[in-house]
């Protein structure tokens, strides 16, 4: 062959346009709801309008009599076969959880819970008939307010005897990772700074654009299930375990999936019901939710009260952090509901060197939709808390919020660093990211403008918000998950198949739903095997093709799945070497692999990998004892998490006369390690930013006093539009991770994690001259206006930790225990 010495440009780092796009921009898509099969029946759910009620009777005759209705099934009809939906993360040995049937049998525990299913020949006929199912309810008092529920005033599940599902603690003194937080607090109370705050993480809804949909075809020997899911492998496992179908008889396909953000990391009642009905009737069945059903009954996210105590010396060096969380589980424990706040437990210390830390979390049931993973899952909540607190500390000390952070953060020469929460951060450079962010933002100029506006008493005030963050990505080392009582591992699987024509099929156990795996993974394999980017085909999302995998969530696909891919590709090369040696009549030890070519050291002889693939396919001239295949598998279990970080800066303008709030500028510098595709990374950051900003400014799942979700449509649940948002200044520093070969860290959640506190810090920064130290999220104009004017003429004193300005967690000090909290949220909402 001709030997080309010219090196092909590496694919990693290139802004390759996505392979996925062609079908998506031309409408040649395969969403689950597009699937139509012969004789297919359609399901409609009858859902409880009550948050908590006993089902006393269900009358289905009228619905059954409707044209083209095949059957109506209630919980009692399927009680024997529907099983109980899974919780894969019992965080403590004595965790309490109610049984979770897909169709409620005798009691409903949240508004939106399924009580019956109608099966008809068309979706419209099924929905018409669903309206005619007559359910008698005996209302029970609902547990709605999280704090009241934690006091067991009303029980969400009377049979449990308590609303408390579990209590989980991490204490640095007990763990040997730091000192006693109580001693640090005592010392600060005597002679230092003690900051006590209580923050609300409002309830959010993932609000992926594609409503969930599931199709089950029981026609063949094997059940084939298509689902709009992030986790086809989990769905397969749970169909087997919950419904008693042999796992080998189940094939699950996640075709094109329209976003997830954690909201499709679930085994849903609707999936279970569709499988149960299809098996019973022997006909293909489809269920597609309406948007209202999606918002009401797809799992929610966040929903915590956070009580925080930060102890510091007078110069602003943090000596300890104590965290007390109340976490709302909602009515049931979904797949990882109980573990979400625990994922935050290791992140409250952020990028800082805290000598003492304690995390306490009480998981509480209420009669609301259950919560579970939503972009960031536990880590945005933690980052919000610490980044708000560090800014409060800066205000107390009277220095710039970036200065207080620098005083406390881990310096770049101190990596690897063992944190007070017991993690080992491998790499990072917070100084570099912060410096770059300041420069791109024009930090000093904006601070000067802020001062001018304050001095001039400009009715439109400028606020500058700062947030740094790090997160644990790449879920996860299996041994760590095991030690946290999570039921599954955290490995990922990949295969590389060398086809006879030189094309390469890559199979990954990750399951993309917008992330661009087909493109990014092609870039990785193209470099690793020295084949053209266009020759790599990435296959995923079908348990019959990608038979092994743990799917996509937690910024894991690249750091874990990508590393599995590297290992599988490397095995291909190793398998090819003896074959190349044989064909080139050389010793294996003399074979060198470089950029797709197997050469013989010291000669110009060589064969391309495609030639080896063809020779292996033919297997005519093969070394003795060598198996005629290059195809390779790898299952990679990460040794550590990866720790992306970044510095985010936000400028908000607030009209103090109206409470109107406008974003002026947003700059973030993220260090996500090696970047495979800068365009895809920028896209992940943009989208993440807007979701985090939306928590700060717009989104909230609001329930009324009877437990009805008020924000159950896009009219009321404020997913931001193009007109609400601005263009962002996104940039990077690169400190490669040393926990994987490629040096990647994960980017899926970064933007969401850091933006929320950056925005709220900016809002509070603008209002601090008015004595405001907190505005509850979402920071609506109404809340901002009331926060400003609640203090008209009041003596604010600029001392945020005394009097009504803040809650006091010392049991001995009962003065103004809740007043501070109320004074910052005047709208009277219980949420």
């Amino acid at each position: 062959m001709t030997v080309t010495e010219e090196a092909a440009a590496p694919q990693i780092g290139q802004e390759r346009r996505r392979k996925e796009d062609q079908r998506l921009i031309t409408g040649r898509t395969r969403w689950t709801d597009n699937i139509v099969l012969n004789g297919m029946l359609h399901l409609a759910m009858v859902r409880s309008p009550y948050a908590h009620a006993r089902i006393t009777n269900i009358e289905t005759a009228e619905a059954k009599a409707m044209p083209n209705v095949v059957t109506v099934l209630t919980g009692a009809d399927v009680a024997e076969e529907q099983g109980s939906l899974p919780n894969a993360w019992p965080i403590t040995e004595d965790q309490k959880a109610p049984p979770h049937p897909s169709i409620a049998v005798d009691r409903v525990a949240f508004a939106g819970e399924i009580v019956a299913v109608v099966v008809a020949r068309t979706a419209a006929e099924a929905r018409d008939a669903a309206d005619l199912v007559d359910v008698d309810y005996e209302e029970l008092p609902p547990a709605l307010d999280l704090k009241e529920a934690a006091e067991d005033k009303t029980l969400a599940h009377p049979d449990l005897g308590t609303n408390k599902s579990a209590f989980w603690q991490f204490d640095s003194a007990d763990a040997g990772t730091g000192g006693s937080v109580d001693e640090a607090i005592e010392a600060a109370r005597r002679d230092g700074i003690l900051i006590e705050r209580e923050y609300r993480q409002q309830r959010l809804i993932p609000a992926f654009m594609e409503p969930r949909s599931v199709v089950c075809d029981p026609t063949g020997e094997q059940l084939t299930v298509w689902s709009a899911t992030q986790v086809p492998h989990f769905v397969r496992f749970f169909i087997a375990v919950v419904l008693g179908v042999p796992e080998s008889k189940v094939r699950v396909i996640a075709p094109d999936v329209g976003g997830g953000f954690g909201g499709k990391l679930q085994f849903t009642p609707e999936e279970a019901i569709t499988v149960v009905v299809a098996r019973r009737l022997g006909k293909p069945c489809k269920y597609t939710e309406t948007r209202s059903e999606s918002l009401m009954s797809g799992h929610h996210g966040r929903d915590q009260w956070q009580r925080l105590t930060l102890a510091a010396t007078k110069d602003g060096t943090v000596t300890g952090l104590k965290v007390d969380l109340l976490a709302d589980m909602g009515a049931y424990l979904g797949l990882v509901t109980s573990g979400i706040p625990i994922l935050g437990a290791f992140m409250f210390n952020g990028i800082y060197k805290f000598p003492a830390y304690q995390f306490n979390c009480t998981n509480v049931f209420t009669n609301k939709t259950w919560t579970d993973a939503y972009r960031g899952a536990g880590r945005p909540e933690a980052t919000y808390a610490i980044e708000r607190m560090m800014t409060e500390l800066a205000a107390e000390v009277g220095v710039d919020p970036l200065e207080i952070r620098e005083r406390n953060w881990i310096k770049h020469e101190e990596f690897p660093f063992s944190t007070v929460a017991g993690l080992e951060y491998d790499t990072g450079n917070y100084e570099a990211a912060t410096e770059k962010a300041k420069r791109l933002f024009g930090y000093d100029e904006l601070r000067a403008e802020q001062q001018r506006r304050r001095d001039a008493k400009d009715p439109v005030q400028l606020g500058i918000g700062v947030s740094t963050f790090t997160e644990m990505c790449g879920l996860a080392p299996s041994r760590v998950l095991g030690s946290l009582r999570y039921a599954a591992g955290g490995w990922e699987h990949a295969s590389v198949r060398m086809l006879a024509t030189g094309k390469v099929e890559v199979v990954t156990g990750a399951s993309a739903h917008g992330q661009g795996h087909e493109t990014a993974f092609s870039q990785i394999v193209a470099d690793r095997l020295g084949v053209p980017f266009e020759d790599v085909e990435v296959l995923h999302g079908d348990t019959q093709i990608a038979h092994k995998g743990l799917d996509t969530y937690g910024s894991r696909s690249l750091t874990v799945g990508g590393e599995a891919l590297v290992k599988a590709a490397d095995k291909v090369v190793e398998k090819a070497k003896p074959i190349a040696a044989h064909l080139l009549e050389a010793s294996v030890d003399d074979i060198e692999f470089r950029q797709g070519r197997f050469g013989v050291r010291g000669t110009d002889k060589g064969l391309g990998i495609a030639e080896i693939a063809l020779a292996t396919f033919a297997a005519h001239d093969f070394p003795e004892g060598v198996e005629p295949t290059l195809d390779s598998d790898a299952t990679y279990d990460p040794v550590n998490f990866s720790f992306p970080h970044g510095t985010h800066l936000c400028a908000m303008e607030i009209d103090t006369e109206t409470g109107g709030v406008t974003m002026r500028k947003y700059v973030c510098v993220d260090d996500v390690g090696t970047v495979i595709n800068p365009l895809i990374v920028a896209g992940q950051v943009h989208g993440g930013l807007v979701q985090g900003i939306a928590q700060a400014l717009w989104e909230e799942a609001v329930y009324d006093d009877s437990g009805t979700l008020v924000s159950a449509s896009f009219v009321d649940y404020l997913v931001p539009t193009a007109a609400d948002t601005i263009s962002y200044g996104v940039s990077h520093t690169t400190t490669p991770s040393i926990t994987n070969t490629l040096g990647t860290k994960g980017v899926g959640e970064a933007g969401t994690i850091a933006s929320t506190p950056a925005v709220v810090n900016a809002v509070v920064d603008a209002l601090r001259p008015f004595g405001v130290i907190d505005v509850r999220m979402p920071c609506t104009p109404e809340r901002i206006y009331k926060a400003i004017h609640a203090r008209d003429g009041a003596d604010t004193g600029g001392a945020p930790t005394v009097g009504a300005a803040g809650p006091h967690f010392d049991e001995a000090d009962t003065a103004d225990r809740t007043a501070g909290n109320d004074s910052t949220d005047q709208n009277g909402s219980s949420l």
Partner: protein
């Protein structure tokens, strides 16, 4: 049932439809035009946006019987002979889509925005797309795509500068 005759993506169809049938359901279920999708039930999300007689409409907000005698263009009718519409190319080039579910509606609306105003400002683009929700992109690259398709300068996706 009502008989309608409608041209969709250049082909003529005659069908009996229920008076209550929405245009989006007619497109998806009767014509197999599944490129147009349903994202909500309150006409907020715009995922179902198509062109009716040259103007964008949310096809969940139009009855099939209303398009009798009309001409509908969906995302599937934009490319001709394998040649993408410039807006489709711009979305691809600017990475203006991730999961792609909102994309058909977003592209149809973006074309309508430029039909009304060939050189819109960033603010006009953002306001023109206000009726179409996207959960993945944060709109940054969608705005860039519309700027690109209109032949205007656009902001970068990210600030290229070595640390």
């Amino acid at each position: 049932m009502t008989k309608i005759t409608v041209t969709v993506d250049g082909a003529s169809y005659t069908d009996d439809v229920e008076p209550r049938m929405l245009l989006v359901h007619y497109l998806r279920e009767r014509l197999g035009k599944t490129g147009t999708v349903v994202g909500c039930d309150t006409s907020n999300c715009g995922a179902c946006t198509v062109h009716l007689d040259g103007h964008s409409v949310k096809s969940c907000n139009v009855l099939a019987v209303q398009v009798d005698g009309g001409e509908v263009t969906t995302i599937e009718g934009l490319a001709h002979d394998g040649e993408l519409h410039p807006m489709q190319s711009a979305f691809h080039e600017c990475h203006a889509l991730q999961c792609g579910f909102c994309t058909p509606g977003m592209i149809m609306q973006a074309i309508d925005v430029l039909n009304d105003n060939p050189k819109p400002t960033e603010k006009q683009i953002r306001e023109g797309l206000e009726g179409n929700l996207c959960r993945c992109t944060g709109y940054h690259n969608i705005v860039r795509a519309v700027q690109t398709a209109s032949g205007q300068e656009s902001l970068p996706a990210a600030i290229e500068e070595s640390a």
